[in-house]
Symmetry: C2
Subunit: 283 residues, 2 copies
């Protein structure tokens, strides 16, 4: 029996499955202007942030997601200088992006400042680069920021959002992708977390369709483990304006920073499409 | 709240996590001479077999495991004819192996006949090749069978066992691996499910050490998703007598049978080692 005093449980809507982590204590909870945020101390996964009942980030296993939403796209774009992160309030993606010395500017736009303020307290390691002079943290509506961005001014947009319900819903629509397309430079790429291929295959197809409608013509989906997310298997989808550039393998091999999951072999591995995925998306 | 009348829950010992599937009904339970077996009808994963409290196989997601424990090793050995499966009583691995037309003989040895008899009822699709004339099902002690096997008589041994506690414990020791080494032909390969790299890294190292002690000198670990197993991310480790043969990519590309997950890109992808794994195993 999994009781709610000793365990945090996320029941995946419609999936008929649930994942639970044993907790030592609840460290914090609050209703921000946008969402309900909880922080737990778990027995074996370090701290855990939960937003509107969904696991967001744990100390122990966030490295999979944060590394895979950042390094592959950064080593796919031929020469990225300017990155924008939509969402990503825990700052873990920002930290990974800033490991790339060629990056000159990263703007992180999360609508909910409380996520970042709580991450600074409960996930300080993810926030260690927040004061990097190349980083700018904004707490405004990402949809509006992208709409207003100077055309062609951003090389990479990373959509590090919650699920496509609640505040993040608009981040999965063609109108947003059209604004991304305009904001991106000629070789620009947008990457977005795209849920689980086991649970959300339909959404993954619809997302590509919406991106194609917005003008993007080249797609790659990355598959990677993410224990605390529904099904334990997650994905991110890249959409490029011109062409999905050649993977800069040599640069990835010579990277001068540490990672826990990512390396150039993992990068290429993550691009392999399962048979059922190819079939469902007619690839 | 996850209650035990509506959900089946596996708490992972020592891991501080749990995975639950919503159930429609319990279809069967029995104490066999070896283990406690339960069959559930789940809401979204089809039927589920549970042995001694651990999820074994579901209708919906068994394809990951069964394909990855069979096709990669079969396309790695240069010319496999004879395969032995230790465990694998649900017959899903047997079915995958028999898809390879070059295979002349498969002996499946599960100590517990009840697992197979229940699979025939509740997972009939996994048992569809049980009457293939190339297949032989034995319900005896696999340890003893391998010990008694004619030296050099088997090309591939697939250890499709439960976790290294209970009846399967001996299947993770150097004595068993030595018997495998002797039973295998010159290019022989043993492959064994090797748990989760996130949860069982120490065991994965110890397994390789025990395999090396037994004479094996060449190893490859395959990583793949497996939603219902602890952490949602599973592995299998290959150990070869002479050399890990070159992957027969052309043959895999030309395979004349259907798979749901496996293809030649997935094969190569599964071999990519995460940074933390390379570091922990000093690879």
């Amino acid at each position: 029996m999994i009781n709610s005093t000793q365990w945090f449980t996320e029941q995946v809507p419609g999936a008929g499955s649930a994942f639970s982590l044993k907790i030592k204590q609840k460290l914090h909870e609050e209703q921000s202007p946008f969402q309900f945020i909880e922080i737990y101390e778990t027995e074996t996964f370090g701290n855990l942030m939960v937003i509107d009942g969904c696991t967001m980030v744990s100390t122990r296993d966030n490295f999979f997601y944060h590394e895979m939403i950042s390094h592959p796209v950064l080593y796919t774009h031929p020469d990225p200088k300017s990155v924008c992160i939509i969402g990503g309030g825990d700052c873990g993606t920002l930290r990974e992006v800033l490991k790339h010395s060629a990056i000159e500017r990263v703007v992180q736009i999360d609508i909910d400042e409380r996520v970042t303020r709580l991450a600074e307290i409960y996930f300080p390691e993810l926030c260690e680069s927040n004061n990097d002079p190349r980083a700018e943290l904004k707490f405004i509506d990402g949809l509006q920021w992208v709409k207003d961005a100077k055309p062609g001014s951003v090389d990479i947009i990373i959509v590090d959002s919650t699920d496509p319900i609640g505040p993040a819903e608009g981040l999965f629509g063609a109108a947003f992708y059209r604004d991304c397309f305009n904001a991106l430079s000629a070789n620009g790429i947008v990457i977005q977390q795209s849920e689980s291929a086991l649970y959300h295959l339909k959404l993954m197809g619809e997302m590509r369709d919406a991106m194609a409608l917005a003008g993007f013509g080249h797609f790659q989906t990355l598959f990677f483990p993410q224990c605390i997310y529904p099904s334990g298997w997650w994905s991110a989808t890249m959409a490029a304006k011109s062409d999905i550039g050649r993977f800069r393998e040599q640069d990835a091999n010579n990277k001068h920073f540490a990672t826990s999951y990512y390396n150039s072999a993992i990068h290429q591995a993550a691009l392999a499409c399962p048979e059922f995925f190819k079939k469902a998306l007619a690839l």
